[in-house]
Symmetry: C2
Subunit: 335 residues, 2 copies
């Protein structure tokens, strides 16, 4: 690859000033006489000079780049978050290095090491769990981190999310109140704290409040895929289950279609409430009632918070955990 043709030095020579002055102009430093500034800007335009961000990064130790870890870009829940992240990032002139973790501990570790090598100014983490090794790596690197739309077992890390436990509780209560006794909880792997500590707890809290005994037969653990819950539909009905609170939209659609394809009428014979309010809940037929989350905002606020942390205005410390409001959308899968 040939050498960059027009550098700050070229501009300096043409404009008969020093590199330092050109740098000042480029960076909007006010200590430059307007006439000089104009002269330099003219040359910049004429030569079509564009500063080399890599050199800049080396000299300034800031790359204006943040790393974003996402389990899978094709998962609408995380994609919605990512959209908010990207928008705010571009508003603040940051670039995003996005990588799929495939929810694989080894891969995520490799990925983060790579990001740190690239000297990202910050990291946004989305995912179901954070390996200890990764946590250590991040902490020792001193790079600001924000966890978005996820729950990981660590109270030092800044987080933006909703109150999953309460949301789950409210959803379960709704189902119980529609005079259903047998309300199931269909969830992804319980090894992830967001499922076990948050959503399952919320489900249990609702049962307790309505004095319904907890029956672990009604907790249906799946691998989180559409197909896995589709396959459970028949079994659930045969077991006499009349409603289910479902921990994510993939599973909810799978369950719904499984039921429908087996001739079960939703909501007449079975009610469903899902958790994430992504497109899936709106394009299915019947549409699916769901807890609503401000997904875009979670991403946006996470990125905003990260910019503060990166600026190092340490005041950010106090608002380390942001819990946004959730809601409920009544659709066709509940009465």
């Amino acid at each position: 690859m040939e050498k960059q043709s027009v550098t700050i030095y070229t501009v300096a020579r043409e404009a008969r000033v020093s590199m330092a002055t050109v740098s000042r102009v480029v960076n909007g430093n006010p200590n430059v006489k307007p006439a000089t500034r104009q002269k330099v800007m003219d040359v910049i335009k004429r030569l079509n000079y564009r500063p080399n961000a890599v050199a800049r990064g080396l000299a300034s130790k800031k790359t204006t780049t943040v790393g974003v870890i996402i389990p899978r870009i094709t998962n609408p829940y995380f994609a919605d978050l990512a959209l908010g992240i990207d928008d705010i990032a571009s508003m603040y002139k940051y670039n995003i290095i996005l990588t799929n973790s495939d929810n694989d501990d080894d891969k995520v570790l490799k990925v983060v090491r790579n990001l740190l090598a690239k000297q990202v100014d910050g990291v946004i983490f989305m995912g179901y769990s954070m390996p200890d090794e990764l946590r250590d790596e991040l902490k020792s690197s001193n790079t600001p981190v924000v966890v978005a739309g996820s729950v990981i077992d660590d109270d030092e890390l800044a987080t933006v999310r909703i109150d999953y436990e309460n949301a789950a509780k409210e959803a379960t209560l709704k189902l119980l109140d529609n005079a259903k006794d047998h309300v199931a909880f269909v969830t992804g792997p319980l090894k992830y704290v967001i499922n076990s500590d948050d959503k399952l707890s919320g489900y249990k809290a609702a049962l307790a409040e309505r004095h319904v005994d907890f029956d672990d037969q009604l907790v249906v653990e799946t691998d989180g895929t559409y197909q896995s819950s589709y396959d459970q539909a028949k079994r659930l009905v045969e077991a006499g289950v009349k409603a289910a609170y479902v921990s994510n939209d993939n599973l909810a659609v799978g369950l719904l279609n499984g039921l429908t394809d087996n001739g079960v009428k939703v909501p007449d014979d079975f009610e469903i409430i899902s958790s994430n309010d992504t497109t899936y809940t709106k394009i299915s037929r019947p549409t699916i009632s769901s807890i609503t989350q401000p997904l875009y905002d979670i991403g946006a606020i996470a990125m905003r918070l990260l910019t503060k942390l990166m600026d190092g205005t340490d005041s950010a410390t106090d608002e380390k955990d942001v819990i946004l409001d959730h809601g409920f959308a009544q659709r066709q899968s509940t009465r």
Copy 2:
């Protein structure tokens, strides 16, 4: 931000060799005695040294980073492509700077300038059109570019895609052969060449082959959103249309739900074939028949092609345009 603590120089000192040797070890250069290599590697491990990719990028003029332009990360079609891109990128140790273009000419131009400033080694472009200014910028920058899953009017740029025109023709033929006369074409904005030059042409070719007159009333141009085609459903039925080939899955689901919600039976009263075979076509009820595209592969191959171009083994020139096979998935929206 404080100075990087352990640098190549630290390692060199500890291992009693020069920076150059450390660099050789790190980069797997063979000109180093195994004993020396081992000694250096031990120190690297002990000090937990990690090379600074920014400095490396400056010195070597390679950043092992590629820019990816995506209209919208939440669009399943492009997200599937992006997944393939990301997988292959990480296989080849490249990082991805991902940015939403929002399909906005100004924004995409700004974004690409930014990417070039960041010295990306290559660019993958997805989108509906490429502003002239952008094309010029890319060409003059001499950065390799691959267009993925998109059609833009330029025959110098490397492209990976399917034969949209033929696919559209085959789909339309199927609908015509099911004894339907009034087959509509529901499409996104016709100002985009993929819609007008490719898919519309395919639609017309099918009509011609069956000796059916083209009726421009049957070309329904929308803004490409779910809602826009949902809203057209009623009008289409009232106009006596019996089937539609639809240019993307968003529109297809919108149309389908619009029909269903108006009491029209699919496929009995109306048949639909869509274009992209994303999840949407599988989770809707009825499911939607669709042209199938190897979306993941398109992304993967695009990235693979880009690595070749970046390596500069100029042999890549001959296989500049990759057209992958498409297929057809018969589902519930056609008989």
